[in-house]
């Protein structure tokens, strides 16, 4: 009686787990070149046009003009539609472009744009944007795009952002083990924290 029950529990468990594994396996999350999947967004936001170099037709807008919370909070934040409109209401030349029309549709309906997450960490990892931006941009004086680019890749050359780095623990550690100068002028260096609880809390 009991062995029969045990067997059935085992079989049910195996079938279900194999099934759920198969579903997960359908789309590889990390490819050989560390690229994340193409995430389909409500409409295409051209990062290159906004943040790209002037030579390539970009505006060279600072990342933190839109992702304004990166220096103040653990998340970088997605700009509210208000912010897009702040500029675009004065840019008549592209007013009729399909993406901008879509943008104004959201604004007129006072609806947030349902952007999808491109970079995500599991819930047991706490990554703090503020600490990294304060250290690299404000203490070391690194260019913003370089500092953001350590983890986000060369966003200024992308339209829709796509994950470029593995964002795995080993990858985080590879940078935390390097010696980083403590500020722009000093020759002293320090490493990123190595305590488990810094990220897993």
């Amino acid at each position: 009686m009991y062995s029969f029950l045990r067997l059935s529990v085992l079989l049910v468990g195996l079938v279900v787990s194999a099934g759920s594994y198969a579903v997960k396996a359908a789309q590889p999350l990390t490819t050989a070149d560390d690229l994340g999947p193409n995430v389909e967004q409500p409409f295409e936001f051209p990062h290159d046009r906004h943040a790209g170099d002037a030579a390539d037709g970009g505006m060279e807008i600072n990342c933190m003009y839109c992702h304004t919370y990166a220096r103040r909070s653990i998340v970088a934040g997605i700009p509210p539609v208000q912010k897009c409109i702040g500029c675009h209401q004065n840019i008549e030349s592209v007013r009729e472009a399909p993406r901008i029309k879509k943008l104004f549709e959201y604004w007129d309906a006072k609806k947030a744009i349902p952007w999808k997450k491109v970079h995500d960490l599991p819930d047991f990892v706490r990554f703090n944007h503020e600490r990294h931006i304060q250290r690299f941009v404000f203490a070391q004086g690194k260019p913003v795009q370089e500092a953001c680019g350590y983890c986000h890749g060369d966003v200024k050359k992308m339209t829709v952002a796509r994950r470029q780095k593995p964002l795995s623990m080993g990858w985080c550690r590879s940078c935390h083990m390097k010696d980083h100068r403590i500020d722009a002028t000093s020759t002293k260096t320090s490493q990123g924290p190595n305590d488990c609880w810094q990220c897993h809390k």
Partner: protein, 750 residues
């Protein structure tokens, strides 16, 4: 994944029922664990492209994602009215803290209050109005529900419309009164299942006010007759802070607390001396103390001396079970240290002669000269129409009688759960059936809502607007603001103010149609009175924004006159109870800090937080003295039946020396038959077996008068409790040292 666990669970439970042994159980658990591991999540970027980022159309300047913003409001978990401050992040309220600007709690909070978020996020909340259809509730629209109310109320004589509520105050009370006024009916029954109503009445007589301000911090000795002011009595968070100053004053000596009661409360456990008194003899001890004080030279008036003359220490000791030595020490202590404070609590008032007990205790305060010193005048309330209507059990008794006589045709119930809290002898459920149309405003399908014809789902306290005026205010007068800390969880719920406003629009459209919702009514009512609310120099918006940001509006009130009349001659405290051979034990229904009258029983944190004295979780228990248990052959974990003349309940026995041997105690608030997944079926309902005995003067249900017998029911369980090795094996490590209680001499410390 979830399905496989469910399946595992079902099979495991089937096996347990079939007498599955531990080894097999562990094997199955192991296989279940393996399947979890196989199908588990492996990658770091687990959700690429599947989740949305938090984004807004427009944001307020102060909102930074992931950084909390705090909004002030008022706690709704009990009626003490503490100010709270909710941490809100990305539009969700995450945690509550105390509001430092509220003089009641000064930024502190209790565990009961902390669980307020679980009332808000509770999965068992009702989400839309329900209309009875046979045994089922059918979801209907608010328009239909309000139309139905209009129709039913319009079709009966206004005399037959009754409102049953818990404590109400502020603008909700004003609206409710206006509605009753519009109907021309005055049937508003205010019911509190657990309330110091006898003490209120006796205070009114003795001091001229129902609830004087007690200054624990000014007292050098406190003698509390069963008032659990640190746990569950009146305003425990406020009293706890006063108590801290009483124990460690800025200058002067550490205060001494003596607790006199038959069942140890949290306050009793903190006392320097805990005196186990025979139940019901509190008044005798109070008079005995006056006698001893007079004998020791404290000046007392002649009529008082005459009234207490026969209460000699020997007789009092015989009646109360408190030794003459302790009575002498207590009297000496009270004489030596002045001012002192004597408090009459629920243990003193819960008898047929509860009023006399409370009066004797008030007289002791008078004799000691505490009135005006530690028993002070509260402040008058500038807006009496918003002052709290406090409740009592007499109100429910009257309502129940009126229902039995078919005098109620439409009943509204708000903020009370009488079907659960009324003792069985009330026959409330049967009487309710005689009411043709019952409307219950509810958060959960509790025992009363189940009986209703129309259930109106309420907003949680964290998504509602209200003003509240607590009964016990620490300094001056104040009006508390309750404001939403986040958007409503469910679009189908409404605030009680909104419902009352909608009902008033049906009766007095000219007066109320201008107000779109309760918020606009509240704002306009507050703003139009801003001169009296301390905003005379401010424009409307500034006044309103200031009130909301502080969460409390402080009012100017004058101290009221404390002119009571105490007649010692009229004071007759009856002799102690006669023995009852059939029902030899006294039942004390205990009010615990978390569970109170059971209204919050569906918040799992409260079920999970151990009772402070017994450490029991998730169940009722029958607390009894080890000697009593030994006599009955009961050991810890025995399921026992506690039977009174009015009914019987079963629960696990717990042996505890902090209880009088003639007493057993069962906590209130457990034993719900409905309400939700965390409350239903947990423990037994001690309200149900209370005997129909009432206080002689006020007619209040005498909660401690029930006599019971305890018998073993045959089963034995392992009590689930947090109690650790302190009472048992410490493996040779001297972690918590113990000495037998008969070797302790606490009186040396006192």
């Amino acid at each position: 994944m979830a399905r496989s666990q469910d399946k595992d669970f079902q099979e495991v439970s089937a096996m347990i029922e079939n007498g599955f042994n531990r080894r097999n159980f562990l094997k199955v658990l192991g296989w279940g664990g393996a399947t979890v591991a196989l199908s588990g999540c492996g990658n770091t970027s687990v959700e690429d492209g599947r989740e949305f980022v938090t984004s807004y159309a427009e944001t307020a300047d102060y909102i930074i994602p992931s950084i909390g913003t705090y909004f002030n409001s008022t706690c709704a978990q009990c009626d003490a009215g503490c100010g709270i401050m909710g941490r809100v992040r990305e539009g969700r309220v995450l945690k509550l803290e105390g509001n430092p600007e509220s003089p009641i709690n000064n930024g502190k909070m209790c565990g009961l209050g902390q669980a307020g978020v679980q009332a808000h996020y509770n999965p068992d909340r009702i989400r839309e109005p329900l209309l009875r259809n046979g045994d089922r509730g059918e979801a209907i629209t608010w328009e239909k529900a309000l139309e139905l109310i209009n129709e039913k109320v319009g079709s009966v004589n206004p005399e037959n419309v009754a409102f049953l509520t818990g404590v109400v105050s502020g603008h909700v009370k004003a609206l409710l009164n206006n509605y009753l006024d519009a109907l021309g009916s005055g049937h508003h029954y205010v019911y509190e299942a657990v309330a110091p109503s006898v003490v209120r009445a006796s205070n009114k007589k003795a001091y001229g006010v129902e609830m004087p301000r007690l200054s624990l911090d000014k007292a050098k000795v406190i003698v509390s007759f069963g008032a659990d002011f640190l746990g569950a009595w009146v305003s425990p968070v406020h009293f706890s802070q006063q108590y801290a100053r009483f124990r460690k004053p800025d200058n002067g000596e550490r205060g001494v607390l003596v607790q006199v009661e038959s069942k140890m409360t949290l306050t009793g456990a903190n006392a320097d001396r805990w005196l186990a008194i025979r139940p019901g003899t509190e008044g005798i001890l109070a008079l005995g103390l006056i006698n001893s004080l007079a004998a020791a030279g404290l000046p007392v008036s002649e009529d008082v001396a005459a009234a207490v003359g026969e209460y000699t220490s020997d007789r009092v000791s015989k009646d109360t079970g408190v030794s003459a030595e302790h009575i002498g020490k207590l009297a000496a202590l009270l004489k030596e240290r002045s001012p002192s404070l004597v408090i009459a609590g629920s243990a003193a008032e819960g008898y047929a002669h509860g009023s006399q007990n409370a009066a004797a205790i008030a007289l002791l305060n008078q004799v000691l000269g505490n009135v005006g010193q530690t028993v002070e005048a509260p402040s008058s309330v500038p807006f009496p129409q918003m002052a709290p209507s406090t409740g009592n059990s007499f109100a429910l008794q009257s309502l129940s009688d009126d229902m039995a006589q078919d005098k109620v045709k439409v009943l509204f119930s708000y903020g009370a759960n009488p079907v659960f809290t009324a003792p069985a002898f009330f026959k409330l459920k049967e009487n309710l059936k005689k009411v043709p149309f019952k409307v219950v405003f509810a958060h959960y399908m509790d025992e009363t809502a189940v009986e209703a014809d129309l259930v109106l789902p309420l907003n949680s306290a964290l998504e509602d607007w209200a003003t509240l005026m607590p009964e016990y205010i620490a300094e001056g007068a104040q009006l508390n603001i309750r404001q939403p800390l986040m958007e409503k969880m469910y679009p189908g719920t409404l605030g009680v103010g909104d419902i009352l406003l909608a009902m008033l629009k049906q009766r007095r459209p000219d007066e109320y149609n201008d107000y779109e919702d309760f918020y606009s009514y509240l704002r306009s009512a507050m703003v139009s009175n801003k001169d009296a609310l301390g905003g005379a120099d401010e424009d409307d918006d500034t006044f309103w924004e200031t009130a909301l940001s502080h969460g409390v509006v402080k009012l100017v009130g004058e101290p009221v006159d404390m002119t009571g009349s105490m007649s010692a001659a009229a004071l007759v405290v009856p002799a102690p109870f006669a023995e009852d051979a059939t029902y030899p034990l006294h039942l004390i229904p205990a009010v615990s800090a978390s569970m109170r009258d059971g209204r919050n029983a569906n918040e799992p944190w409260l079920q999970e937080s151990p009772d402070p004295l017994t450490t029991i979780v998730w169940d009722s228990w029958v607390e009894m003295h080890p000697k009593t248990a030994a006599k009955l052959g009961i050991v810890e974990g025995d399921i026992v039946e506690v039977a009174s003349k009015s009914g019987a309940i079963k629960a696990q026995a717990y042996l505890f020396p902090g209880i009088h041997p003639d007493v057993v105690s069962v906590p209130l608030g457990y034993g719900h038959e409905a309400m939700g997944r965390y409350a239903k079926g947990v423990g037994a309902n001690a309200f149900s077996i209370l005997d129909p005995v009432f206080d002689n003067e006020t007619g209040e249900l005498a909660m401690h008068e029930t006599r019971v017998k305890v018998t073993k029911a045959g089963q034995r369980v392992i009590i689930v409790k947090d109690e650790g090795p302190a009472g048992g094996s410490q493996m040779g490590r001297r972690i918590a040292l113990r000495i037998p209680s008969n070797k302790v001499n606490l009186s040396e410390e006192v």
